[in-house]
C-alpha cells in the first residue's frame, strides 16, 4: 500500500513539474563588430594654372611659371624642365591631395622619395633631402599661390622602408612601411581633407648634367 502511495506521489510530482512554470534562464549577449578604417585618396599633380617652375627671386621679380614636357594640367609629372646647377626653383601648384576616410579621428599624410634624385643620363644621384623640398600652397581657385623660391620649406627624405612595384621612370613604386611610419608631413583631425603643396628644387652646384627624376610616394593612414 505504502509503495503504491509513494508511486502515486511521485507521479503527481512529475505531472505538476511539467505544469508549473519555472523561471527561464536568461543572459546578455554582447555583440561587437570592428569597423575597418577605409581611406580613399586622389593625388593630382599640376592641379591649378599657371603651374610650373619659377626661378627663386625676391619681391615682385616673379616670372611666369614654365614646365617641362612631361607636365600637363591635372596629370603627368611635376616636371621642372631645364634648370641650372646651383640655383633654386619653386614649382607652383605641384600636388593636390584629397583624402576621405571613415575614421572620425582623421588621418596622417606621409610623403617620401622612393630613391634619391637620380640622374638617368649618367647614373649618379643627389641626396633627396638636399635637393627636393615641399611647402604648403593654395588651392588656386579661391586663393592664389603666394610662395616664392625662398619661402620656408621642408625636405623630402628618401624612404628607409622597402620599395617595391618598380620605381623606374615609367613605373610608379609603392613603399611597405610594415606599420612603422616616418614623421607625417600633414595631419587632419577630420575624416575629409585637402592638402596643397608646392615643391622647391635646389640643384646642388656640383650636380652633373642630365635628366633627373624621383618618385614621391604619398601614404595616408587613418589616425
Amino acid at each position: 500500500m505504502r509503495t503504491r502511495i509513494a508511486a502515486c506521489a511521485l507521479a503527481m510530482a512529475a505531472i505538476v513539474s511539467t505544469i508549473v512554470p519555472v523561471r527561464a534562464a536568461t543572459g546578455g549577449v554582447t555583440v561587437k563588430w570592428y569597423a575597418q578604417a577605409l581611406v580613399k585618396i586622389a593625388l593630382t599633380p599640376n592641379y591649378s594654372s599657371p603651374f610650373g617652375a619659377v626661378k627663386a627671386a625676391f619681391g615682385g621679380n616673379q616670372n611666369t611659371p614654365t614646365h617641362g614636357p612631361d607636365a600637363s594640367p591635372n596629370s603627368g609629372a611635376v616636371d621642372f624642365g631645364a634648370v641650372l646647377a646651383g640655383s633654386a626653383y619653386l614649382y607652383k601648384y605641384a600636388a593636390h591631395l584629397n583624402v576621405y576616410t571613415n575614421d572620425n579621428s582623421g588621418f596622417n599624410v606621409y610623403a617620401e622619395g622612393a630613391a634619391d634624385f637620380y640622374n638617368a643620363t649618367d647614373g649618379s644621384s643627389q641626396s633627396l633631402n638636399q635637393t627636393l623640398y615641399y611647402l604648403p600652397s593654395a588651392n588656386g581657385v579661391t586663393q592664389s599661390d603666394p610662395n616664392t623660391g625662398f619661402s620656408p620649406s621642408f625636405p623630402f627624405y628618401r624612404t628607409a622602408a622597402s620599395v617595391s612595384g618598380g620605381g623606374s621612370f615609367n613605373s610608379a613604386p609603392t613603399i611597405n612601411y610594415g606599420g612603422s611610419y616616418p614623421p607625417a608631413i600633414s595631419t587632419s583631425m577630420n575624416p575629409v581633407g585637402d592638402f596643397y603643396y608646392d615643391y622647391e628644387l635646389r640643384v646642388p652646384p656640383m650636380a652633373t648634367v642630365g635628366a633627373y627624376y624621383v618618385w614621391i610616394v604619398y601614404t595616408v593612414v587613418p589616425r
Binding site: 617641362g68 625636405p155 614623421p183 615643391y199 652646384p205 610616394v217
Partner: protein, 234 residues
C-alpha cells in the same frame, strides 16, 4: 650756358637719387649689377623646453580647424609616429598610396665658380630657450678678378614671424680671424626688402660663417626653415 650745365647736373642728381631710392637692395650699389646669388638652406629642429609652453589663444582640439600642416621633420620629434591601435579598435589598418614623378633637366651654371658655398644645407638642432652654435657652418667664396665688388647677405624670411624671428640667428663671417662678436642676420622683408653688406672688396675671398642661434623659450617644438642669401654685385 651756366644755367644749362646746372640743369643737367640737377637732372643727373635727381636721376641718381631716384634710382637709389627704388633699386631695392641694390640701392647702395646702383652703379653695380647683380652677378650671382646663392642660398644656404637652414633647417632648425626645435625640441620644446623642459618647462613646456602653452601659447595663449592656441586653437583647441576640435575648434573647427579642418586640417593642419604638421610640417614636422626628422629630429623634431619621435623617430616615428605613434600609430599604435588598441586591439578593441581596429582589426586591420587600411592605407592608401599614390605617387608622383618629379623631373628636371640639369645644365651647368655659367656663374658657378663666381660665387659659391661649400655647403648648401645647414641643420641646427636645439632645445627651446637654449643657444646653438656651429663654427664655420659653411664658407662663401667670391672667385673673380674684379677689383671692386660688393657682397650682400641676409635671411630670406623669419623662422616663424615674431615668435621666432630671423635675427635670432647671428653670424660671424670672416676671412681669417673671427670678428669680436657675431651680429644678427637682417631679414629681407623686415629690412625694407634690402640685404646688408657683408664685404666690399676685390679679387678672391672666402668667408667662414660661424652661426649662433638663440632659440626663444616660447617657440613651439617643430621644424623651421629659412635661407641665408648671398648676392654678388660689381
Amino acid at each position: 650756358m651756366n644755367k644749362y650745365v646746372a640743369r643737367v647736373c640737377l637732372l643727373a642728381i635727381a636721376t641718381c637719387a631716384a634710382y637709389a631710392a627704388f633699386a631695392g637692395s641694390a640701392g647702395a650699389s646702383f652703379l653695380q649689377q647683380q652677378r650671382a646669388q646663392r642660398a644656404v638652406y637652414i633647417l632648425v629642429n626645435v625640441t620644446p623646453g623642459p618647462m613646456g609652453y602653452a601659447p595663449s589663444g592656441a586653437a583647441a582640439f576640435g575648434s573647427g580647424i579642418a586640417a593642419s600642416m604638421a610640417l614636422r621633420q626628422r629630429g623634431a620629434g619621435a623617430a616615428s609616429d605613434d600609430v599604435a591601435f588598441g586591439p578593441e579598435v581596429l582589426l586591420a589598418q587600411a592605407t592608401n598610396q599614390s605617387s608622383v614623378r618629379v623631373e628636371a633637366a640639369v645644365s651647368p651654371d655659367p656663374t658657378a665658380t663666381l660665387l659659391y658655398t661649400n655647403n648648401q644645407t645647414v641643420i641646427m638642432n636645439g632645445v627651446a630657450g637654449t643657444t646653438v652654435t656651429q663654427a664655420c657652418a659653411y664658407t662663401v667664396t667670391v672667385n673673380t678678378t674684379q677689383k671692386s665688388w660688393t657682397l650682400y647677405h641676409g635671411l630670406s624670411n623669419d623662422f616663424s614671424g615674431s615668435t621666432f624671428p630671423g635675427n635670432d640667428l647671428l653670424n660671424n663671417s670672416y676671412v681669417s680671424t673671427p670678428n669680436a662678436k657675431a651680429t644678427p642676420f637682417v631679414v629681407y622683408p623686415d629690412n625694407s626688402n634690402q640685404f646688408a653688406i657683408l664685404s666690399k672688396s676685390g679679387g678672391n675671398a672666402t668667408f667662414c660663417v660661424d652661426l649662433t642661434l638663440n632659440l626663444p623659450a616660447n617657440v613651439p617644438g617643430g621644424a623651421y626653415s629659412s635661407n641665408a642669401i648671398y648676392t654678388l654685385y660689381y
